[in-house]
């Protein structure tokens, strides 16, 4: 049952016995490569602290981690999809549409004839978001596997569909959550437990769940085996279509979780919500050491990658050394440098 990684070598599956050819060398080397993003993150943090004393404060740390939570949670789901050899370009639009649908539904409930309590409405909204994310993910998986359409094309299509529907729902303006509901829902983003904001806790839980599922379950092994070589995985009697569909479903749920945390932040969805989140999530995954071609997934790498991307933005905001026109260039240089430090097999 245990899939054997195929000829392209080097990319040992985490948690599986390393295959015979050159394990002694490959193992420590890949360990070292896995440290790339962490080294980069530490260096960036030192630079940040030197540039501005405000950087190293607890409040700033929490700000950065909280804002990373959205992209980070999505990126954890994205790691599964990419590790299985797929891609999802629609996550930003999906998040925006889930936010919009959720707000419209909650407002409708609140303004209805006999409205349930605000708390009940928020719980219903959260349930609706999760269901929506799961169904959207399932649809992606189904179109990719049974429809035999490239994941790139399927999700490029839904990227447009999701955002267009949101724009239509909002008349091109903003969909804003009812004020009383915002009051009830707000703490989900703004409240802290033991000094740490709720989104950071959820982010940590999602990351841990991701590590366990990817590295400690047969499903996780199958995901990476499929990404490594789909044909061989088929011969190993892995149910490829089902596993692939499940990765999209998982990602859809992750997008929904991220959205559930996002909505109470500003209490609104607009056609600019979630723009380019897909690229940030994909960048976090790749910077974290997961190959864009599939095969080996590294959840912790993804988490560090996501934090790294936020830290760059944070440092650039905390200093004014570099022309604001060049912010994106600095980000690009760091992304490419880290990806270079961490390049694995091609």
């Amino acid at each position: 049952m245990q899939p054997t990684p195929t000829t392209d070598g080097g990319g040992a599956l985490p948690g599986t016995p390393v295959k015979a050819a050159g394990p002694a060398l490959a193992r420590p080397l890949s360990r070292f490569k896995g440290a790339g993003p962490i080294v980069a993150l530490v260096l960036l943090c030192i630079a940040g602290a030197l540039l501005n004393p405000g950087f190293a404060t607890f409040d700033n740390l929490m700000n950065v981690l909280t804002r990373t939570a959205f992209i980070g949670i999505i990126a954890v789901g994205m790691t599964f999809v990419i590790a299985s050899g797929g891609i999802d370009l629609s996550v930003g639009s999906m998040a925006a549409l889930i936010a919009g649908v959720m707000i419209v539904a909650m407002n409708a409930l609140a303004l209805g004839a006999s409205p349930p309590s605000a708390l009940a409405i928020v719980v219903i909204g959260i349930g609706l978001a999760l269901a929506f994310g799961a169904v959207a993910g399932l649809a992606h998986g189904f179109l990719v596997t049974h429809g035999r359409i490239e994941a790139f094309i399927v999700t490029l299509g839904t990227l447009g569909i999701f955002r267009a529907v949101l724009t239509w729902l909002s008349d091109g303006g903003a969909i804003t959550l009812d004020f009383n509901l915002s009051e009830t829902y707000g703490p989900v983003y703004y409240q802290s437990v033991l000094g740490v904001p709720i989104p950071v806790w959820i982010f940590a839980l999602v990351a841990i769940a991701g590590v366990v599922i990817l590295n400690r379950t047969p499903f996780g092994q199958h995901v990476q085996a499929i990404g490594s070589n789909e044909q061989v995985a088929r011969y190993a009697s892995i149910r490829v279509d089902r596993v692939k569909t499940l990765t999209y479903l998982l990602l859809g749920v992750c997008v929904a979780i991220a959205t559930i945390l996002y909505v109470p932040r500003l209490g609104s969805a607009t056609p600019t919500t979630g723009i380019l989140w897909e690229l940030e999530a994909i960048a976090a995954v790749v910077v974290g050491g997961t190959s864009l071609k599939g095969g080996s997934g590294r959840i912790m790498g993804t988490v560090v990658g996501a934090i790294l991307l936020s830290v760059i933005g944070n440092i650039l905001n905390l200093t004014s050394i570099i022309s604001v026109y060049l912010n994106a260039a600095v980000q690009g240089v760091v992304i490419i440098t880290v990806a270079y430090l961490q390049r694995g097999r091609r």
Partner: protein, 324 residues
């Protein structure tokens, strides 16, 4: 700069009055059918959402009032798409008047010039073309006042002394024009310091993050010039979260309905705004249609003035049905 803009406004107003006078004098008997194409950006954020809404509003009102008039509204997400639409409007719909809010100035100048050479009357709105020969008339909001009025207001509110942080829009000529006008006015008040100006991209989320980081970085901030109402929302939330009480004013801009509502309600942080309503597309369509129906032309340049909105006049700028 100040007097220049003012005099421009006066000229524009005078021209408008003059053309209105002519309109009354003109004989309606000369009415000719007008097919008016409207090419505007797709609704991708609050402001363009407002543009699309106001354009459709103009279509509805004008077509109901004039059986001789047909208005076709096309929205485009990219420059090439808009260029294609302009061509289709000419070839397929046989339009004889065009109101266009170009997505990009330089790349649309040629396509629009070609349409104009075929006899279509062209009114350009907001973002100008690179060659004025490609247009018959130009209608725009006043970006200089958009930057200058908040600076004047904040300087007065802070009694000429304090720290301001700035959220810019997206790197563009419009943004530069506004920020330069703001800085020029602030420079007259040596007691006021602009601590930093970063891009919030006319986006709530980006504005939230940038403001959070400003709040970490600067211990004393007296006012935020958010330069746009969408960005003001993000800034407000970040200030609320940080529980900072040093900030006395968050000045947005463009007169979004929720912001104007806050001004009317006497919000603690949003007490004033500056008008730059997407309604100018409505004005431009209406002016062009009415003039063309009578076979007249518009003044070459019309600037829709940006006005300081305070509690005293806010109700005139409140459009609760518009999405913006």
């Amino acid at each position: 700069m100040y007097s220049f803009t003012l005099s421009l406004n006066k000229i524009a107003a005078a021209c408008l009055l003059a053309s209105a006078g002519q309109a009354i004098a003109a004989q309606p008997a000369a009415a000719q059918p007008v097919t008016l194409g409207v090419a505007i950006p797709t609704a991708t954020h609050g402001f363009t959402g407002g543009i699309v809404w106001w354009a459709n509003q103009a279509k509805k009102e004008l077509e109901a009032a004039n059986p001789n008039l047909k208005v076709i509204v096309k929205t485009a997400g990219s420059t090439p798409e808009q260029a294609n639409q302009v061509q289709d409007l000419l070839v397929v719909n046989k339009m004889n008047a065009l109101v266009i809010l170009p997505l990009e100035s330089a790349s649309l100048t040629q396509p629009v010039a070609q349409v104009k050479n075929k006899g279509v009357y062209v009114t350009v709105v907001d973002r100008g073309l690179t060659s004025p020969n490609a247009q018959n008339a130009y209608v725009a909001g006043d970006n200089t006042a958009f930057g200058r009025l908040p600076a004047e207001y904040l300087a007065k509110k802070l009694n000429g002394k304090g720290n301001i942080v700035v959220l810019r829009g997206m790197p563009s000529t419009i943004d530069n024009e506004r920020v330069n006008a703001f800085n020029a006015e602030i420079a007259k008040h040596p007691g006021i310091k602009v601590l930093d100006a970063k891009y919030g991209n006319w986006n709530r989320d980006d504005a939230f993050k940038v403001t959070q980081d400003y709040l970490t970085r600067f211990k004393q901030i007296d006012a935020v010039w958010a330069a746009d109402d969408d960005m003001a929302i993000g800034a407000l939330k970040a200030i609320e979260q940080a529980k900072r009480t040093d900030i006395k004013e968050v000045f947005g801009g463009a007169g979004a309905k929720f912001a104007v509502k806050k001004v009317i309600d006497g919000d603690r942080l949003i007490q004033a705004n500056v008008s730059y309503s997407p309604k100018f597309i409505y004005d431009a369509i209406k002016m062009t249609a009415n003039a063309r129906l009578k076979g007249e032309t518009l003044p070459a340049k019309t600037i829709i003035p940006s006005v300081l909105i305070t509690r005293a006049n806010a109700s005139q700028f409140y459009y609760p049905n518009s999405p913006y």
